[in-house]
Symmetry: C2
Subunit: 434 residues, 2 copies
């Protein structure tokens, strides 16, 4: 239920160009949206008031690339080379998943994401519609894109997957008062043949949905595509016509200048995943260069099998710290820009910029409230720096999505977290062999 709420004299992370700024103000929530930012009008009669004196409110974090169900595989395949990780560990575990299993993985992901301040996520599952159902049941905002792989225009497996995606979209589109959106998710250049991509593009156009894909994640992908097609992943997807549709490209560790020009020209958003790229030893994406090229950059955790956390506050720290060191430039990605990327960057990438990503009157009330009474936040000074370089996740106290309080003072209002943990443990023990 959407609440009528007043945040009284709270430090708020507000929009400021391609960054954010802090301001102390009142914020009103009503009818699921932000009613005002500034001073509460005298006639505003809230059902609930949150004292802002020791708190900070920010736009809910947007996880722009994840595979929520993969919490089931968390900590089950660490410190391995990519091929051993994928073929010896992850794929055999995925093969043992039964219908209904990934629901619990996704629900666990939602518990974790809400507890660390994420209100919206861009999901690429391999089962449907159970992941859409998890998003719906969790109360979170989500964009679901069932992963698609296919070898040709009429590849039966590829068609089956596409059919499942289409059925799911027909059933769940617009559910949860608009919280649920959909994309099609052709997995990657090396798993989707050009003819299959043609089929996916036709379907996406017919359904009026965007695209979520992996691009340029590893050196192996670059080399393979170069050998087979004499193209980079971006050139390959541009040639296939993918970028005529709104596209979120995850990873993009390897991009040429020309790739960046392609992305900028077509308005392709990049969802960067710094931790996953480190953990799987793929490298570091050229994010500061992307920003200079005018590309919209969003932030994602990737799945828990390659991270192993879905904590976007932690990911934000990696984003801002890593590029400073990598580029030997302390100004390459300031805190305010990082916070923008983790919120508004995601909203833009997901086509939700008019609804979420910033705290503004008229937008939906997807809000994350942090308790600042923590020694690691003291002394209170530049709290954007604290958010970016010091936040752990546990500071998150209260979270609203669509004006509904999902987490209140550290307790879930509708999710049965104990049940979710129990079921996820049960499934994980079975598919991972104990």
């Amino acid at each position: 239920m959407a609440v009528k709420l007043l945040l009284k004299e709270i430090r708020a992370v507000l929009p400021d160009g391609d960054g954010v700024q802090l301001s102390r103000c009142d914020i009103g929530v009503e009818g699921g949206g932000v009613a005002f930012v500034g001073q509460a009008p005298p006639e505003f009669a809230p059902d609930k008031v949150i004292d802002g004196s020791k708190r900070l409110v920010m736009p809910g974090l947007i996880n722009a690339h994840t595979h929520a169900y993969m919490t089931l595989f968390r900590n089950r395949a660490d410190d391995l080379p990519f091929r051993a990780w994928l073929f010896d560990r992850i794929l055999p575990m995925e093969d043992r998943l039964r219908p209904g299993d990934s629901y619990w993985g996704a629900m666990l992901a939602c518990c974790e994401m809400l507890r660390s301040g994420t209100t919206c996520y861009n999901d690429m599952p391999i089962f449907s519609p159970e992941n859409a159902r998890a998003a719906l049941d969790s109360g979170m905002r989500a964009v679901i894109g069932r992963g698609l792989v296919g070898e040709g225009y009429d590849d039966p497996g590829g068609l089956r997957r596409l059919g499942e995606a289409e059925a799911e979209i027909a059933e769940y589109r617009g559910c949860g008062e608009g919280r649920l959106r959909f994309m099609l998710a052709p997995h990657a250049p090396y798993t989707c043949a050009p003819a299959y991509l043609r089929r996916v593009i036709e379907t996406a156009r017919r359904l009026g949905v965007g695209i979520h894909t992996h691009l340029g994640e590893s050196r192996g992908e670059i080399a393979g595509l170069k050998e087979q097609y004499q193209q980079t992943p971006f050139e390959y997807m541009e040639a296939a016509g993918l970028f005529a549709l709104p596209t979120v490209a995850a990873h993009c560790v390897y991009m040429t200048e020309n790739d960046m020009a392609i992305a900028a020209r077509h308005g392709v958003s990049v969802a960067t995943n710094p931790v996953s790229n480190l953990k799987l030893a793929n490298g570091v994406a050229p994010v500061p260069k992307m920003l200079k090229a005018g590309i919209n950059v969003a932030l994602g955790t990737d799945g828990a099998a390659s991270n192993n956390s879905l904590n976007m506050l932690r990911e934000l720290g990696y984003l801002c710290l890593l590029h400073k060191g990598w580029n030997e430039d302390p100004e390459s990605l300031p805190a305010a820009r990082g916070i923008f990327i983790a919120t508004m960057g995601g909203a833009k990438a997901l086509g939700l910029a008019d609804q979420v990503g910033s705290i503004e009157p008229g937008k939906r009330a997807d809000l994350t409230i942090l308790n600042l009474e923590q020694s690691h936040w003291y002394p209170h000074s530049d709290l954007l720096g604290a958010l970016c370089y010091g936040a752990q996740g546990g500071e998150v106290e209260t979270v609203l999505v669509n004006g509904e309080i999902l987490l209140e003072n550290g307790s879930f209002t509708k999710l049965d977290e104990e049940r979710v943990r129990y079921e996820a443990q049960r499934v994980s023990d079975r598919v991972c062999g104990g």
Copy 2:
């Protein structure tokens, strides 16, 4: 007061060569030390029992390089080039510090470190003896090395600082039932002339203490030393005779093969500071190569002005993730090795390997107990992976130093955390100009 405590059937991080392993067992604490690991003897009658079923115990983390007082400057100087950071922001703030101020900064650091599972830290302050007093009052184990800079053998400033260090050592050595140790801390090659180093070395030898210094932190340092002395920082310090004493060298971002041979030959320990090196845009230290060269590596956060967190669990994640991505080698630093570095590596560096760094009968009971009932730790599987790649800090529930419970179920038993925050805020607002 040292407690007689039983940890009942708890998952424990136990020693395993140059790594660690997990085992479920009973652990007894008595007389400030670890009495047994395995099954509790029937005659053991504890005053207190902690149920281990949903908990994990690890050796207290050892922060092998920090400047505890610098919490006062936290988030006051972000996203700046090194020289602007140091000369325009940090030094003017340090100049405004009055005696007694840095005590509160160090106490705040202790609150933060204990809350994130650190039991011992290697401190380089610039005021004395107030930082020794803070360590004493906090209940933590600490090695204090007042920072020393000097231009010659008889440089008055250098002599004053050395005199202060010596007086502090005379007064506090062995205090707190052996919790307090000391080193001398010649700041860096570029702030300590060879003649002054000679004086420091003579003094350290006379006092029987080791050395804590910064080495090879930035390209600027390398270039400056090369121009002035045609030496690397390691060559410079070896020539000065520093390495005849037990030495902890912080940072070491830039090391040649020969530097590594020097460090290995003299048993110099490196305290690596991955986050600080990223934040100040210095780069990434060649830690996997150091390990191959047989160098003992420890982990530190550096000060809060360049991190901005003293959370060693977070630092551990950066340690293990960063080198995988940097070296494009997912096996370059596995979780178990990282945990060893963050515990036993620190103990070795500080000359405390016979006392702390691992959970073994006869060692002091410096223990960190985590509560595993957290969604981001589920499903429970490889918990070393969870510790390394997923821990946030807030899981830390109970912490013992020298067998004394300092943090119990998230509450401090002797530290007045609210007072500490208040005083640190007051001092910080004054020295940082509000």
